[in-house]
């Protein structure tokens, strides 16, 4: 009975959920613009109605011809413009500040594929069309698309970012209210575009720790990557501690790489992804093109994420025990551990998940 009433009650609510730290400031700006717009609309409507009534056509009353007024024109050009500058500045400020995630952000990988969202956590667990995050922790999503352009959007967080095939996109948020929120694809992506939806579960840290400890089973993301690394025979050429036919990958992550055309690039996620899928695109100085096979079509974006996680985990300081099998040191503690430490800091949950 009660359940059948829920949609109606929800429909009655005309206030959008706010569930991230970004949502509040964005809404403040939204209501500022809406408020100003409403005042402008009322002023214009009222003047039209007033003039239409006051100066309605009557016999023997003629219109007074008025040329115009530069003073008035300037006033109603400059004043609104100043107000709009406030809207611009405010919006740009929020946007600018939201560019870079905090360094302590928890990283989650998302792959968009017609028509589902695949989620991978650093501890190796995976989900489809669902994302679990602890309340109060900044979360950074690194997103890739297997096919067309998608757009990752969580209205309650007021975040959205296109996921464009060919490179990584990222977006971040800090959920601040436990609950279950819509996840939508908001860039038209084909037949079942409307089905490319899911839920974001924001959980109390303790609850989240419980949930996270149940996941995994196939090892961490880096371990999965290591397995792929062996499976594809990458280790035959990318030796870990001595020069093989291909560059050494240990400690390469986020370090500059000298290319054969003289340029230097940073070996970030995007570079590593490109080098896996299209190895000839950028050749490291001193190496030959065409040695490594193309992996485009052989590996999925999810596999690429696993392989990159493995490469990331190859810390330069760890000595190799055997060829191709250096023990990965996870760059981040497990999710469960992180969440547990968060739980100690956070107050016990006040809000109840819907």
């Amino acid at each position: 009975m009660l359940a059948s009433l829920l949609p109606i009650v929800a429909a009655a609510s005309l206030i959008a959920d706010q569930a991230s730290e970004q949502a509040g400031p964005v809404d403040a700006l939204f209501w500022f613009i809406t408020g100003v717009s409403a005042i402008m609309t009322v002023v214009i409507f009222a003047s039209i109605c007033f003039f239409a009534y006051k100066y309605r056509r009557r016999t023997a009353v003629h219109a007074t011809q008025i040329e115009g007024s530069n003073k008035l024109e300037l006033t109603w050009s400059i004043l609104p413009f100043l107000v709009m500058l406030v809207m611009f500045g405010w919006g740009a400020d929020l946007f600018y500040k939201a560019q870079n995630p905090p360094t302590n952000a928890m990283e989650v990988f998302v792959t968009g594929k017609q028509w589902m969202w695949k989620v991978q956590y650093p501890d190796g667990s995976r989900e489809i069309d669902a994302l679990h995050v602890p309340v109060g922790t900044p979360v950074k999503l690194t997103m890739a698309s297997e096919d067309v352009i998608h757009s990752f959007s969580v209205p309650a967080f007021r975040i959205r970012h296109d996921v464009i095939p060919g490179h990584y996109d990222s977006v971040w948020f800090t959920p601040n209210k436990p609950g279950k929120y819509h996840l939508f694809c908001t860039e038209y992506c084909g037949n079942q575009h409307a089905g490319m939806t899911g839920w974001v579960y924001v959980m109390e840290p303790r609850e989240y720790a419980n949930w996270a400890s149940g996941g995994g089973g196939q090892g961490t993301l880096a371990e999965q990557g290591q397995a792929l690394f062996q499976q594809f025979g990458c280790a035959t050429c990318h030796l870990l501690d001595q020069q093989g036919r291909c560059p050494i990958l240990r400690g390469i992550y986020n370090k500059p790489v000298q290319l054969d055309d003289g340029r230097t690039v940073i070996a970030d996620d995007a570079y590593l992804r490109e080098s896996i899928l299209d190895p000839n695109a950028k050749i490291v100085a001193g190496f030959q093109p065409d040695v490594m096979p193309h992996f485009k079509g052989q590996v999925t974006e999810e596999n690429v994420i696993q392989l990159i996680a493995y490469i990331k985990s190859l810390s330069p300081s760890t000595p190799a025990s055997q060829q191709g099998g250096g023990q990965p040191t996870p760059p981040t503690p497990s999710r469960a551990a992180r969440a547990a430490s968060q739980a100690n800091a956070a107050k016990p949950g006040q809000a109840v998940p819907r």
């Binding site: 000839n280 695109a281 050749i283 093109p289 065409d290």
Partner: protein, 227 residues
């Protein structure tokens, strides 16, 4: 220019100034035609502009690959074509002048010369296209490329190469059609010092097509030749 006033009317004889019914004077008609043609050429600039934008962007992103494609571009044929087109512009300009001087014989001569140059350009272009086909350099049709590290990005350049030169060649074909029309009209003694607007307008178009090539040639053929 033409200050002769001729009564308006759609049935004016061929030899007279062709003043269309809705213009007040032939000067007005000529002004309108000229402005119309220039406006049309501006749309053409923007039409090619879309492809030039794509070119600029990808050249910035993939300079190495773009430079490496120059080894497959036939600079001799491209250079010859540049010379051929510049000559055709000269003959076109002379044809306009001949029309303005009411010199029918020269006008026909220069128009036909222009057409010969234009055809020569297309024939040479055809040889180049054929060579690209033989060398598997047509994107989407068994594209193969050495050095392999540039295979992907070189495809973008070749796609642009065919799109830009193809669109240019299409404009040349249209231009040749217009020139044929001019030759027929000139033969019928339509043009004279009093009425030469079509020759001038088609001349403008021809020069525009020429200028597009002047940009295409260095951008597509000479990227790798920076020494």
């Amino acid at each position: 220019m033409a200050d002769t006033v001729v009564p308006a009317g759609p049935e004016t004889a061929v030899e007279d100034i062709r003043l269309k019914h809705h213009f007040a004077t032939s000067a007005q008609q000529m002004d309108a035609d000229t402005l119309g043609m220039w406006t049309f050429l501006i749309t053409e600039v923007l039409f090619f502009g879309g492809m030039f934008t794509a070119y600029v962007m990808y050249r910035n992103m993939y300079l190495g690959a773009f430079a490496s494609t120059s080894q497959y571009m036939n600079v001799v044929l491209g250079g010859t074509n540049t010379a051929v087109l510049i000559c055709s512009s000269l003959t076109m300009a002379l044809a306009v002048r001949a029309a303005q001087l009411s010199n029918r014989r020269h006008q026909i001569l220069f128009l036909i010369l222009t057409m010969i140059f234009g055809t020569a350009f297309l024939v040479i272009k055809g040889f180049e296209y054929h060579a690209k086909w033989v060398e598997h350099l047509v994107p989407g049709f068994g594209f193969q490329y050495e050095p392999a590290q540039y295979a992907h990005h070189a495809q973008i350049l070749f796609f642009l190469y065919f799109a830009m030169t193809g669109m240019h060649a299409l404009h040349m074909v249209v231009g040749l059609g217009l020139l044929t029309y001019l030759v027929v009209q000139a033969y019928r003694r339509v043009f004279s010092a009093n009425y030469f607007v079509p020759v001038e307008m088609i001349g403008l178009y021809w020069h525009f097509v020429d200028i597009v090539w002047i940009f295409l040639f260095p951008l597509l053929y000479l990227i790798g030749h920076r020494r």
